[in-house]
């Protein structure tokens, strides 16, 4: 089974079978050249600061080796010379006065106080090694957790550090791993690999490539790509394609530039995406709009799916999703009748509790309509390194591997997923059960401000540890609150590297052009520390050799060779299910047990899960807990991205902050009037779990007065460090309990029920985190309590 599950996807090299020709770009100049007084270095912007994309950039340095400008690289087909505001402004980040410049330690009794002592790298590394090895000896390697923030450039190196140390507890502290992984799983479980919208990103000549076809329609589902640039998808490709004739269908509770330039906008109730997809399937199947030839030859379980979707009638789905029935019908017809039809989705799909069946249902819409692996449809991008899988799993001894937190509760984790379950780990750190966690290594991770649900429980868990290490660019609320040692990380301009990220992987390098303080790259830090933990696992003399080893496992290029040729496009072709290139055994078909796209998933069935997609009402919510609507009448969604801020980054970067000054809650005029609120009022946004402070922006972009939205990941770097930069007041995650889906994947970040009231001088802070007698939000059944309370009234 495992050979055909996600583990197969990770390890068999299926989607990394690089057969065929590499494509190159003609360069006028070498990778580094002189332009007047300035040196120009070509490379990729991957990351931090910034997003998941890794755009092609030209970095300009002066004769003193100072970075003076970052521009888009016009020769790089990925972004075609364009760049967003964050990378344009990267020099301001690099030389920001608040950068961490050297290692610092703090006495654990002074956690939360601004009492740091500068130390040398040698002392810092010795400290990590002494503490971690001591804990390993006393309690076992599993007592040390390695946690990363958002999945940018860090996954390969932190997984290797974790596993080579011997710990099975590598984690993203995001409830239900609710970013990317549920979508990966939803596709992998049914079609054996991850699929993305085909925007010609696999071709060096892009839209002009004769094999490529512009999609007739793109469904943009739970994502605003223009701002989000998620998962290796350069958002403005959507604009490029619209200029070439592509139409849009936008599924988003918010009115946006894209929705108002679309053929159809479905303003969905947050958290009901699975229902909408099942409604589409109902219509497409019952009205016989699906691709019979493809379904007959290449799918498995169609009859079971057809039976399942019968309960999701368009009438019912209209009620559930708050989208008019005629719009749902129209969208289903567009989906089935557009040739080809593609789909760009986002975290809104992951950030619902039952995210796996949601992903599965959405995927099925595009599978049964024959849009898989065709030009302009959805494609499985070839890879150099499986990004979702980590690097070096074999380094963790089997006996410790079995102690991975969450395995007993969520058997799906046994099917190739290589992470600890974040919510179970959060509980374990707070409660000491099933065993105590004694230390953490947090890298690119501001868990108390950004990704972690139930920040109080996260805080308690970290405070329970004997020793916490953070690696970051800037001081953060998480570091100030809980760390004992902080290591200063380099930005992408200060390091060498290769881009092996999510989405479309290219042969691209990151080139170091400057040095700031004593900062080192995450890769260099992990190589240095890893060598001390486990020298055999880190046999390379330097990071360039390490990158070459990663590259030459799959491609003919060393790091230095790739640097000359960058960007290199990996071999790619369409309809690989016909040519045997999607399976490790070279047989035609998909990388699943049946060799077909499994609309009825053998994989989920074997993991004890429902093999077919389904919808469950989000809890709490208008569909599941109508009793709570009197007290908490508004549906809140969170996490939409502004142009200039990436998660909890950039708040101290003036050019970026000038474009987005404060944490806002967005209400329409009717809602604002009802609550007596006007633009600029500070309000508490509160639900049954907790509350956060936010500044009102009255807008007509949420047309439904029942829906409001709140910015995420806010803190005030200009604020008091010992009040944790207001993070605990501003963090919308205070309202999110971190209860994952049945599989352990997915979590309701995108929907809850709230009320609003004004902040007053007497009631303007949540105060410090409370440790005493705190029971994690997910450990109490507050929904049942709240519902019962309404009945007693």
């Amino acid at each position: 089974m495992a050979d055909h599950g996600i583990e197969g996807y990770n390890n068999s090299g299926v989607s990394t079978q690089l057969v065929g020709d590499y494509q190159f770009v003609d360069h006028e100049k070498p990778w580094r050249y002189q332009e007047g007084d300035l040196t120009v270095t070509r490379g990729s912007a991957w990351s931090g600061p910034g997003c998941h994309d890794g755009c092609g950039v030209l970095l300009y340095t002066d004769k003193d080796g100072k970075l003076v400008k970052c521009e888009g690289d016009p020769e790089n087909p990925y972004n075609g010379g364009r760049l967003c505001v964050r990378c344009l402004d990267v020099p301001e980040v690099v030389y920001h006065k608040d950068r961490l410049l050297y290692p610092m330690k703090r006495d654990p009794k002074d956690r939360g106080k601004d009492k740091w002592e500068r130390i040398s790298w040698e002392e810092a590394v010795d400290l990590v090694v002494d503490k971690f090895m001591d804990i390993k000896e006393k309690y076992g390697a599993e007592a040390v957790v390695f946690g990363q923030g958002t999945g940018r450039d860090i996954a390969a190196y932190i997984t290797r550090l974790c596993w080579s140390f011997g710990s099975p507890n590598y984690v993203l502290f995001l409830s239900g791993c609710a970013c990317y992984l549920p979508r990966v799983a939803g596709f992998a479980a049914t079609a054996g690999s991850f699929w993305v919208a085909d925007c010609s990103q696999e071709f060096a000549d892009r839209y002009d490539n004769p094999q490529y076809q512009v999609p007739e329609t793109m469904f943009v589902w739970g994502n605003y790509p223009l701002r989000a640039n998620s998962d290796g998808f350069y958002g403005h490709w959507v604009i490029d394609l619209m200029k070439r004739g592509m139409e849009l269908v936008v599924i988003d509770p918010k009115v946006t530039w894209m929705s108002t330039h679309s053929k159809l906008h479905l303003a969905i109730r947050p958290g009901t995406d699975a229902a909408l997809a099942l409604g589409f399937l109902n219509i497409i199947i019952n009205e016989d709009l699906y691709d019979h030839d493809f379904v007959d030859r290449w799918t498995y379980g169609f009859d079971e799916l057809a039976e399942r979707v019968q309960e999701y009638t368009p009438e019912r789905i209209a009620e559930v999703t708050w989208i008019p029935e005629e719009k749902i019908r129209a969208a289903a017809h567009i989906l089935a009748e557009s040739k080809p039809c593609t789909m760009q989705w986002g975290v809104a799909v992951d950030m619902t509790k039952e995210a796996l069946p949601a992903s599965q249902a959405i995927a099925a819409c595009f599978q049964i309509t024959g849009n898989v692996d065709v030009p302009g449809g959805i494609i499985a991008p070839p890879e150099i390194l499986n990004y979702a899988g980590g690097w070096g799993r074999e380094l963790c001894p089997e006996e410790t591997w079995k102690k991975r937190i969450g395995l007993d509760k969520y058997p799906l984790l046994n099917f190739g997923f290589q992470i600890a379950q974040p919510d179970e780990l959060r509980h374990a750190m707070a409660t000491g059960k099933p065993y105590k966690i004694h230390a953490t290594w947090l890298q690119q991770n501001n868990v108390l401000s950004c990704m972690g649900a139930d920040p109080t429980e996260q805080y308690i868990g970290l405070m329970n540890c004997d020793f916490n290490v953070s690696v970051d660019l800037f001081m953060t609320p998480t570091i100030m609150a809980t760390s004992d040692l902080v290591l200063p990380a380099a930005t992408f301009t200060e390091r060498d590297g290769i881009r092996v990220g999510d989405g479309c992987q290219r042969g691209e390098v990151i080139n170091k052009v400057c040095q700031v303080g004593e900062c080192k790259s995450d890769m260099e830090i992990n190589l240095m520390v890893g060598k001390r933990f486990n020298p055999e696992a880190w046999p390379w003399d330097n990071v360039d050799d390490m990158f070459s080893a990663m590259l030459t496992a799959q491609t003919p290029f060393t790091f230095k060779e790739l640097r000359e040729k960058h960007p290199v496009y990996l071999p790619f072709s369409y309809r690989r299910y016909e040519t045997g290139l999607l399976r490790g055994d070279g047989q035609p078909g998909f990388n699943t047990p049946t060799g077909r796209i499994e609309l009825w998933s053998t994989f989920y069935n074997n993991a004890g899960m429902d093999p077919l997609p389904y919808f469950e009402e989000p809890v709490p919510g208008p569909g599941s807990t109508p009793e709570l609507l009197d007290e908490y009448p508004l549906v809140l969604t969170t996490g939409a991205r502004p142009w200039s801020l990436f998660h909890s980054e950039h708040r101290q970067v003036q050019r970026m902050r000038d474009l987005k000054k404060e944490c806002n809650v967005y209400l329409n005029a009717e809602t604002a009037e009802k609550y007596g609120l006007v633009d600029g009022d500070w309000v508490w946004v509160e639900n049954i779990y907790g509350r956060c402070k936010s500044k009102v922006e009255v807008t007509n972009l949420y047309q439904d007065p029942r829906v409001i939205a709140c910015d995420h990941a806010w803190w005030h770097p200009e604020g008091d460090p010992e009040k944790l930069y207001d993070s605990h007041d501003l963090n919308v995650n205070n309202l999110l309990p971190g209860i994952p889906g049945k599989s352990g994947f997915g979590s309701n970040y995108k929907t809850t029920l709230v009320k609003l009231y004004k902040v007053t001088p007497e009631d303007d802070t949540n105060g410090p985190f409370q440790r005493d007698n705190y029971v994690g939000q997910a450990l109490t059944d507050r929904v049942a309590e709240a519902v019962a309370a309404t009945k007693n009234k």
Binding site: R82, L83, P91, L226
Partner: protein, 122 residues
């Protein structure tokens, strides 16, 4: 600038063609300009203007942005001397800006929702 300058402005030889139905409001032009010319926060040779957003009828909305050069625009003369396009034009993510001799830009402005700004090299 004196009144005399305003009555007799410098002759414009260049145009910035803005296809503003494609402008997504991403601000790349502004920040690219600030960085190219070392301008302080909040100042730029080009600014994005919110053209408002309101429903007109059904799902038809007015929703858009317009990029317009300010007095600080120098047409990126130095940069163009190196054979490059102005930095706002290069970095515009929606690629809705075009720069060139005024007559060429005027010829291209023959569709709805375009405008040409006249510019003199500084």
């Amino acid at each position: 600038m004196s009144t005399a300058d305003m009555i007799n402005p410098v002759e414009a030889s260049f145009g910035l063609l803005v296809n503003y139905d494609w402008c997504t409001g991403c601000h790349s032009c502004e920040i690219a300009c600030q960085m190219e010319h070392g301008m302080p926060v909040g100042q730029s040779g080009i600014l994005i203007h919110d053209m408002g957003h309101w429903p007109i009828e059904g799902d038809t909305w007015q929703f858009g942005y317009l990029a317009a050069p300010t007095k600080m625009c120098d047409t990126c003369a130095e940069r163009r001397g190196l054979g490059k396009v102005p930095t706002c034009v290069q970095h515009c993510q929606a690629q809705c800006l075009e720069f060139g001799p005024l007559d060429e830009m005027l010829k291209k402005a023959d569709h709805e929702y375009q405008t040409v700004f006249t510019l003199a090299e500084k």
